[in-house]
Amino acid sequence: MIPLLLMIIVPAAFLAAAAAFKSHPKELSVSSTFIGLILAVYFFLSVMTSGSIAQSYNYIPALNIGFSLNAGSTSMILLLMASIVLFVTAFAGNVNREKERTASLLLLLFQAGVSGLFLSGNFFVFFIFWDIGIIAPFFMINILGSANRRIASYKFILYEIFASALLLAGIILIYFYAPAHTLNIYSLSSLYAQMPLYIQETIFILFFIAFMINIPVFPLHTWLPDAHSEASTQGSMVLSGIVTKFGGFGMILIFATMPVARSFSYYIAILAAFSAFYAAFLTMRQSDLKRVVAHTTIVEMSIVLFAIATMTNIGQSGAVFGMLSHGLVVALMFLSVGAIEHIFHERKIDMLRGISKGAKFTAYAFLVGIFIMTGVPLTSGFIADVLIFIGGASAFGIYGIIPLFSLIILGAFMYLVINKSFFANRRATPAAATIGISQKMGYAVLLAAIFFFGILPFVALNLINSGGVV
């Protein structure tokens, strides 16, 4: 059995190499993410065949804290998604090859953070990699971003560090009240019941707000549009595709392990549904293509939170599948928006006309992205929506499908955008550049993954069915 630790050691080693040598930064990050992808597939298959893997190492014996890693169903699905997105980001994300070395270093750091986060077996490890996964995107915005990057990155780091402070406070509370001071995420599920109820509620609320900032859900979503639209293309891809999944993963963990979640789930579902509509209406007010895509993230992730809050097995597996789908789709869309910006030097919807003429591949990739986001069959988005709303209906009856309408609003607006900027051919914006083969390969890899999971959803769903959500 290959140790799970390899998922973290590989990017760390490549990070050290990239820091030491000045040449070939892109090659290093591509090979690191490629090895990460192969390892993720290997672990995915081995979890599928022989159940979840848990490995633990001595870390701080004085505190009884080990470095424990756990590969369960949700974590493997999200890790596989993240590995695909990272691989594509590494080879296709940086079109104009700006500040390539910094970009590669940050991507490698982020890869280590993501692998550790999704594989964490206890909250200590979870917290360590959570913060690594926050710091790397911070610099992706701050150093590599566009004009307003300073404000955006500052907002991002304040929100996210506030979230991580809440997270740490929750962890310390668990540490204090759990029998034998254990922090193991999976064995805690049976231990929460031994804590006083108000402590359980406090811990749940602390964790919930922390993950809610990260997901993000109304009213703590305001950092996201700025951060995602000011980051570099690479930054936007990993921010939307992967960083928002940290919160989703955390939500799944607390909803599935904490018994007290049941008493909050109803209100959280209402909040999430409201947030989906709110963000859908916000999207309609946007004029910047990148901000539009950023706002769709809030809609989609609110629906994921709604699915988690249904507390049904089918709804939660829908949530996991939704995160898988959304991570891939949003990476595709940010990749194509980045390409549009590169080709036309323009992001404003009002200014862009006839994209399909100047950039055929990019335009169709974006279009297919919208199909997937709105849940067209044969794509992973369809499977996710079906599962989520069956879960919603079985938990809340007819009211459980109300959030679906936010997707319809979103879809209607997106098709409007497509009509206006992509296919309206009069006075088409002249193309100033072209995209290379790596960019097209990026679309291809993401689309292949999306259709693979759309046509063969059972690959991922069997994993959840056999092992539960966590």
Partner: protein, 469 residues
């Protein structure tokens, strides 16, 4: 184990330090100063290695009725010797060379006395050595440094006066002045409580704890950068060693194990107030040195969390954090000092530092993130152990307040980081090799121990068991 080392090894240490002092005198007299400085740096390295080899072989002894060698003193002396090594490295090229070298070696002597103290006399003389040589070191940089030197001198004098009064209250119980002797003789007496309060006041001044820390920003800001590094990195840590020795040995039977929790409660309050004071005032600073001064005040507050817990784990965490913070702050001030020599002082002027010098920007970022407690750097490991010690000591409030403060601190560190990574049209500058070496050593420590804290935590645990059984 003990047979590996000769019995007189602490004496060898003393001889080495004396050799250092002597060499610094040579530096003062000679024209070929460089070579003497190199020899001195080598001597410090040798001292650190000797100290760590004593630690590794588990060496224990009393000597001269004044000093004792045990795991605690060996670890802290060894670690702080590395700190002095770094200070000598960063002030390798700074004028006046001879005076700097000489006074640093006197600080080293003071450090030795405090760390290896068996008698309270050693502590008081050691603290005086440290403070006075720092005062003269500041003064030797020129007349314009009179103000910080005078402030430090007056505060040091007040601290010593209070210290002596506190000591006088203990004398009637045991005139041998040995730490353990007083502890046994004075147990449970009322007057000892008064003495304890005075000790808290005296040592709070030097360790910059809450009500007595208003001198810190002025002095740190006024003094030249390498002396600031010395004060923040060494002087403050020396006073923490004194705090650990006095409160955990002399007052062991008074507050910690008995039914009275006086020490814990006192340090509980000091810790909270110090953390909040440092962090809140640091938020509005415009000058980088003042910001680091206030941030190091708040970092001292974290160290007090472990002392307040007063358990084995708490002391272990405090020792860990003392050493960790020494590396972080010396690394940070090394860069600040170097930029100060290029006339870059305010946070405004740090804009575009990455275009001036990427190494400085990246390393300062890593060091600041570590101070803010971002994993996987040593600051996080230290804080987590400190918070856990509060948790194990049933003090959840202290842990939560500590977390709130970690969040506060990111606000001002992020402000600086934000400035440094702006794009500006500036001239590229390069630091000397000595600055790069010192910062690299700090970075290696911050990252390596951060990723695997057990490297240091094991030693800290051994050292803590000397003080708390």
């Amino acid at each position: 184990m003990q047979q590996i080392l000769p019995a007189g090894i602490p004496a060898i240490l003393l001889v080495l330090i004396a050799f250092m002092v002597l060499f610094s005198l040579f530096t003062l007299l000679s024209r070929k100063r460089r070579i003497y400085k190199v020899v001195e740096i080598a001597a410090v390295a040798l001292i650190a290695i000797t100290s760590f080899s004593m630690l590794l072989s588990g060496y224990n002894s009393n000597f001269l009725y004044l000093f004792q060698a045990n795991a605690f003193s060996e670890l802290l002396f060894g670690a702080l010797s590395i700190g002095i090594f770094l200070i000598l490295l960063i002030s390798f090229d700074s004028e006046p060379q001879a005076e700097t070298a000489m006074f640093v070696s006197f600080v080293m002597l003071g450090l030795f006395m405090v760390a290896f103290a068996y008698s309270i006399i050693a502590i008081i003389v050691g603290l005086e050595f440290v403070i006075l040589s720092t005062v003269f070191m500041i003064l030797s940089y020129g007349k314009k440094y009179l103000e910080p030197a005078l402030k430090l001198f007056v505060l040091g004098a007040i601290s010593t006066a209070i210290f002596v009064v506190a000591l006088a209250l203990l004398l009637p119980y045991d005139s041998s002045l040995s730490l353990v002797g007083i502890a046994a003789a004075g147990a449970g007496k009322f007057i000892v409580g008064l003495s304890l309060v005075l000790f808290v006041a005296a040592l709070s001044i030097e360790s910059a704890a809450f009500p007595f820390n208003l001198w810190v920003p002025d002095v740190y800001d006024g003094a030249p950068g390498n002396v600031t590094a010395l004060m923040a990195g060494i002087n403050k840590k020396v006073s923490f060693i004194a705090i650990l020795e006095i409160f955990l040995i002399v007052f062991a039977s008074y507050g910690i194990y008995g039914n009275s929790q006086l020490i814990s409660q006192a340090f509980f309050l000091i810790s909270i107030l110090t953390m909040f004071f440092g962090n809140l005032v640091a938020l509005v600073q415009k000058n980088i040195k003042r910001m680091f001064a206030y941030s190091s005040i708040s970092q001292a507050g974290y160290i007090f969390i472990g002392i307040s817990a007063a358990t084995h784990l708490g002391i272990e965490a405090s020792i860990f954090y003392i050493i960790a913070h020494m590396f972080m702050i010396i690394g940070a001030f090394a860069i600040v000092f170097w930029l100060e020599t290029k006339n870059i002082r305010s946070i405004e002027e740090y804009a575009g530092l990455k275009d001036r010098n990427a190494f400085a920007a990246v390393s300062l970022t890593i060091l600041m993130l570590s101070m803010a407690g971002i994993p996987p750097l040593v600051g996080f490991a230290g804080k987590f152990v400190l918070f856990s010690s509060a948790v194990y000591a049933n003090d959840i409030i202290l842990a939560l307040i500590g977390i709130a403060n970690s969040f506060l601190s990111i606000y001002y560190y992020a402000k600086v980081i934000n400035q440094m990574f702006q794009t500006r049209e500036v001239k590229r500058i390069r630091p000397g090799i000595n600055i790069i070496a010192a910062v690299t050593i700090c970075l290696i420590f911050v990252i390596a121990v951060g990723i695997y804290p057990q490297l240091l935590l094991g030693w800290a645990s051994t050292a803590a068991s000397v003080l708390v059984h």
